[in-house]
Amino acid sequence: MTGTGAPEVGTERQPFVDTPLTVTDFVRYQGASGDMNPIHHDTEFAKAAGYPGPFAVGMLQAGILSTYATDWLGASKLRRFKVQFREQAWPGDVLTYTGKVVGTRDEGGETLLDVELACTRQTGGVHLKGWATFAT
């Protein structure tokens, strides 16, 4: 990898600590993505469904985790991004985004970087686990 500018295995990106989640964040993402499920912004609807109130749109934090990774390793270099949704996140949560290069491999004449990512709540609970692959 020397000389290519690509980070070595074990390199971690400085964590990103976001401002507390708001329902406005959810609404902005829902408008952008087209997923208007009211459970993320309508208190009465969320309560009727058995929740204390609206909860975070997992795909919003997935999107933030993805851009956290692409701001680091390159928007046009992204080849794969996967998230697994764990604990729900709630308005007021302060989420921390982290990433680490965990491997390199050669595939089809290209060197690929494998990255592990996470989005963690202020409680220590894991909201998202993520995996990404980048071209170099």
Partner: protein, 147 residues
Amino acid sequence: MDPSLEGRTAAPFTMVVELGKISEFARATKSTNPDYAGGPGDHPVSPGTFLASAGFWQGPEHSPLAGVELNWHRILHGEQEFTFHGPPPRAGDVLTGVSRIDRVYEKAGKRGGAMNFAETVTEFRNAAGELVAESRGTMIETSQAAS
């Protein structure tokens, strides 16, 4: 969900990757990366989860879940994966998407009982018919409302 639904494929839809939508999506996901910005004539690349907005271009006939009876209060989004066979789509790209139910299976839940999984895949092809991206979602049907 019935395993016999595996392979159920919806009608193709056309999606235009739009400059303004890329900018809106990047902003909503708190990115300030200039690679996602552009003016007239620019063709910025789209964010890694941008294809989540494909629903704007899909009517019921483009969803393999149309007409499938599901209890949405018991359905969780378990996983989501985007694969790109080259750089992610750029503004101005015209993609043809085809969605299908790829897998339906059961796993034992942590607290007993079975959990039902369904994976849907949307394949995106460019004007030349080349596969450029895939979006795979995993849904989990639980026996009770999620908490």
